[in-house]
Amino acid sequence: MKNKNHTSLFQREQVMESLKQSFVKLNPRIMVKNPIMFTVEVATLIMLVVTLYSATHTSQGSFVYNLWVFVILFLTLLFANFAEAIAEARGKAQADSLRKTREETPAKLIVDGKVKTVSSSQLKKGDVFECEAGDVIPADGEIIEGLASIDESAITGESAPVIREAGGDKSSVTGGTKVLSDRIKVTVTTQPGESFLDKMIALVEGASRQKTPNEIALTILLAVFTLVFLIVCITLKPMADYSHTVITIAAFLSLFVCLIPTTIGGLLSAIGIAGMDRALRANVITKSGKAVETAGDVDTLLLDKTGTITIGNRKATAFYPVAGMDKHAFVEACLLSSVSDDTPEGKSIIELGRELGVRMRTLPTEGARMIQFTAETKCSGIDLKDGTEIRKGAFDAIRRIALEAGNEFPEETEDIIRKISGNGGTPLVVSINRQIAGVIELQDIIKPGIEERFERLRKMGVKTVMVTGDNPLTAKYIAEKAGVDDFIAEAKPEDKMNYIKKEQAAGKLVAMMGDGTNDAPALAQANVGVAMNSGTQAAKEAGNMVDLDNDPTKLIEIVEIGKQLLMTRGTLTTFSIANDVAKYFAIIPALFMVTVPQLAPLNIMGLHSPESAILSAIIFNALIIPILIPLALKGVAYKPIGASALLRRNLLIYGVGGLIVPFIGIKLIDLFVGLFF
């Protein structure tokens, strides 16, 4: 399901379907949405009339020449339509493969407490169904009762099962995923046909696709360019009359079609669709094209520490016995205290102990009583058969136990605690029989490679902010180590919101990722809010993207996809406009070669004849569209080298390239066309 599966850009069925669509899209009512290509369609129609006319008359040039001009203009249209169609087909294929996962499945609908099996398509919002081990979940919903392990590989491609349970932030299930164990009751949260995926498919298919503000602005600019060149061509007629030059309609239309920015005009919508498609390939469902575009502009990125910057939870990294206690005995005590501790921290203590050569098996756990962690005691531990009480917990909880028992809290311990905190670690204090025995150091493990990603973001001009519940001291340490620019320590949900508002007040665009219901307001406030698919329905409604992989580092990818989208538009616009220089030099001398022979020096390409010059120019103009389709679909490569360097690079490649390439291309085509005309 992941992008790795789609290596080839064009697949047979997609190409066939797109070819068909290229003709369907010739419908003027569809065409008129793209003003540039619409004018080309009008030009093609006029050319058709001229071609028919020239079959019996000679004043407009030979029939064969006119026919060729018509065919090439027609191809230009088809190529542009094909670009859009193939982008749609690819997006649709991607969405379809996701949709396949949710085809008709039986649903165990609960009506008045009785289970009734219906088809999944009959489920309505608010219905409650149940699922047991082995069932495919029939619709998106929220668990209202029970807990289950679920295989979400159909959507995420991740084979490890995940736990979903009622209440809390992990209560959401997705249609098409499979329950592996246990039984859950789920309430349906979306109307049929209105799930995020359905919305996304509609966006890609064009049914509900709206132009983004940036696309609108670019279309205005391109439309004005088109208008300028329309004026240039129309006003040329009386001026040519003045110079006693007859210009054929074919030549006028060719000049016009060559000068208007057909390259970018033909590829514009394909670029937009491809942007959403790339997001989908990264397993991100976007609710609008605008969201992808905005992602490219993001200035500030809010990232949760856990899972994004650090690996899951803290790990035990060292044992510090105090008061002259034997190290081995202390480690044993630590392990004993963690026997029943299922938290990642607890497990990591046992792991570390094993590394130090202490085995669980050899420990006297028989007949012992486990003490679970509670919010009141703030510690957990074990009471052994021999009466030994071992407790581990936060520093103030254990100190209280020791002091209440009349034991003292050794100064040495405080030194160790201070040292651990200063290193960004969290101390866990262990007591044996209410006497302080030592300290366990827990450390956050920063994800490998994350520093480079932050560096990359910094070069893009994106500020990263770490959000964590840790105390400021620990937060600062980790922030420095991971290379984030700022952090919010001891963060409460409203802190995120306030930070976003503060940044936005300074004119910045903020992106964040979240999953919990208490994240929802912040997700809605952020300019780009990415909700995890595993998150609550409220979170998913609030954000403008949903990440199917539940991968917190996805934000970074989304920003790059957004930038790529804008860059592809910009570079192809530049290329398209730069092409005009060569086209002028191909067509203008051709128009006047006969009546104003003095203009021969302008024919710097040395094109063979007026007809071959004009044909070569429009052939180049048509061919460049399909040649650039792969670039439009894949997007221009983004390099985080700073805006000025990037502009210089793209200007060199697409600006200077756009100046030179058509000179070469038109000349080469002319060498061939010149054999016939």
Partner: protein, 568 residues
């Protein structure tokens, strides 16, 4: 020959050197900071009190434009009345009569839009009174209008987020009292020392060496010529403008007048950099404009100094260059520089006849006006460049993967709409006008004949003349290829329409863009922000201007100047 080149270089260096401190000074003036000319304050206060203006009252961009347009309308009516009744007004020692209504209409519009296209001769169709209180007054206030508009834009772009863009009246008055007036006085005194007349006596009767009696027009010429040059006005006191030996008597007066053309438009660019506290941006814009100006100079000066190859072929010596239509006391080099200076700006004063310049010079002259952004008219030239910056920022912003922004404000659909319409207008009026003229010339020859036949030169040059005329009025330049018989019904009406459109639509559009941008939230710069003060962006803007503004005229030039050039 070498002295001529030296003269050209000296003039260019002088302009550049003087424009820097002036730019700095102007920024301070518009910011309301302390400057040496504060002694003018009582005068300004008097004007403000007399006209009931509160100079500190802030206007939003709509109010600002309303004030600008209303005051222009007022001046138009004022000028019309005075020109028609000038015969019965004082200061008319030569007894010139009033202008006809349609002539007054043309004169008024032309001066109101800072174009100064003249379909009359100052010596016989104006009185000293109207020279001073219509022509000179308009030359001050229309220049000041453009400067005030630019001051408003600078205010808008210089602030983080603002709804108001300053007070139009305040900027208008300051432009006159602090910038145009003092500078005009200095230039005027230099001209008087060179022999330009300044007085209110009537025509002087002299007997020439040949014994013929000649009536030489004089009057308050030295008062009017400086502002004509400084305010990119260009409307000469005498009919033949600065070719006239009393309007431009010596090489020194020519140097001063030529520098005066460019000094304020150049200084405005520096002023922008200082005002918005982005000097580097000011410098980079200046460099792009200067480079384009120098390209023109490097084409025209050699072309004019080399002379016409057809003359060489006829065995006629032309050691002094192509001297047809030029003044011997000034020389081909100085005229070559002047024609570039007067066309890059919207000045339009001439010290030689453009119609007689080489075809390639003619092309540069027209291209300068067709682009109309290389320094340009005082204030408005920079504003035209601003339009193209918006377009360039948009395209290059996309190229670096960010929705475009300029000076920390997002450029969106609305600004793009206005900017591209403004950019479209210029080629539109020029090409449509020329095409219409060419059409009539070919298809309605009898009617054209009834208008006097229009063209004195058929062929490629005839098209050049028509193209030049519309280019000149669209650029509010006012110079002409005088081979065209343009004082006719067709040219008066069509040029009048073009004049108004191409003066006020861009100003309204550009102020609106700045006003709209200023209202948006301020976005602080980051590493991802496109820097607009770099060489790359300068090149980008140049390319956008060249491709959008210049290339759309390529077919027209191919049939006129280029064809003519290759025919030599």
């Amino acid at each position: 020959m070498n002295t001529e080149i030296l003269g050209v270089v000296a003039q260019i260096v002088l302009m550049i050197v003087l424009s820097y401190p002036f730019g700095k000074y102007m920024a301070r003036v518009y910011k309301g900071e302390k400057v040496w000319s504060d002694f003018m304050q009582p005068v300004e206060n008097l004007i403000f009190r007399f006209s009931g203006i509160h100079p500190q009252e802030e206007m939003n961009w709509k109010q600002f434009l309303k004030a600008l347009l209303v005051v222009n309308l007022f001046w138009f009516i004022w000028g019309m009345i005075l020109l028609v009744i000038q015969g019965s007004l004082p200061l008319n020692p030569d007894g010139n009569g009033g202008q006809t209504v349609h002539q007054a209409f043309n004169t008024c519009i032309s001066f109101m839009v800072n174009c100064n296209e003249q379909h009359y001769s100052g010596e016989s169709n104006l009185t000293y009174f109207t020279q001073l209180f219509v022509i000179m007054l308009f030359q001050f206030i229309t220049a000041a209008t453009g400067m005030a508009a630019m001051a408003g834009i600078m205010k808008a772009l210089g602030e983080k987020t603002t709804k108001t863009i300053g007070n139009f009246w305040n900027y208008l008055v300051l432009s006159c009292t602090r910038i145009l007036l003092p500078l005009s006085l200095v230039v005027g005194f230099i001209l008087i020392t060179q022999g330009t007349p300044m007085g209110f006596d009537g025509k002087m009767e002299i007997t020439t060496l040949e014994g013929v009696t000649q009536h030489v027009s004089q009057g308050p010429a030295a008062a009017i010529i400086p502002i004509k040059q400084l305010g990119t006005n260009g409307g000469g006191y005498y009919g033949v403008n600065s070719s006239h030996p009393l309007e431009n008597p010596t090489y020194l007066s020519n140097m001063v007048e030529c520098c005066s053309i460019l000094i304020l438009p150049m200084a405005m660019v520096f002023a922008f950099g200082f005002y918005v506290k982005r000097r580097k941006l000011g410098y980079s814009i200046y460099c792009v404009m200067l480079a384009a100006f120098l390209i023109g100079v490097c084409v025209n000066v050699p072309a004019e100094m080399k002379g016409n190859p057809r003359m060489d072929a006829m065995g006629i010596a032309q050691d002094n260059g192509a001297m047809e239509g030029k003044e011997v006391r000034l020389g081909a080099g100085a005229t070559g520089l002047w024609i570039v200076a007067t066309t890059v700006t919207s000045n339009g004063s001439v010290n030689g006849m453009h119609d007689s310049t080489m075809p390639v010079s003619g092309m540069i002259e027209m291209l300068n006006m067709q682009i109309n952004t290389w320094f340009g008219g005082v204030g408005v030239g920079w504003m035209n460049y601003f339009t193209f910056i918006i377009i360039a920022v948009f395209i290059s912003g996309l190229m670096v993967g960010r929705t475009p922004e300029f000076l920390c404000h997002k450029v969106e659909a609305r600004e793009m709409k206005v900017a591209s319409m403004v950019a479209l207008l210029h080629p539109f009026v020029i090409l449509v006008g020329t095409a219409l003229a060419a059409y009539l010339y070919v298809h309605a020859p009898e009617w054209v004949e009834s208008e006097g036949g229009w063209l004195n030169n058929p062929g490629f040059h005839g098209l050049s003349e028509m193209l030049y005329e519309f280019t000149s009025v669209a650029a509010n330049n006012g110079s002409g290829f005088e081979g065209l018989g343009d004082n006719t019904w067709f040219w008066n009406i069509s040029c009048g329409i073009v004049l108004i459109l191409s003066r006020f639509i861009p100003i309204v559009g550009q102020v609106a863009i700045a006003g709209l941008l200023a209202q948006k939230t301020y976005i602080p710069e980051s590493a991802g922000t496109l820097k607009t003060d770099t060489v790359t962006f300068g090149v980008m803007t140049f390319a956008v201007i060249f491709i959008v503004a210049a290339l759309s005229f390529f077919p027209a030039h191919a049939l006129s100047t280029i064809a003519e050039h290759f025919s030599l």
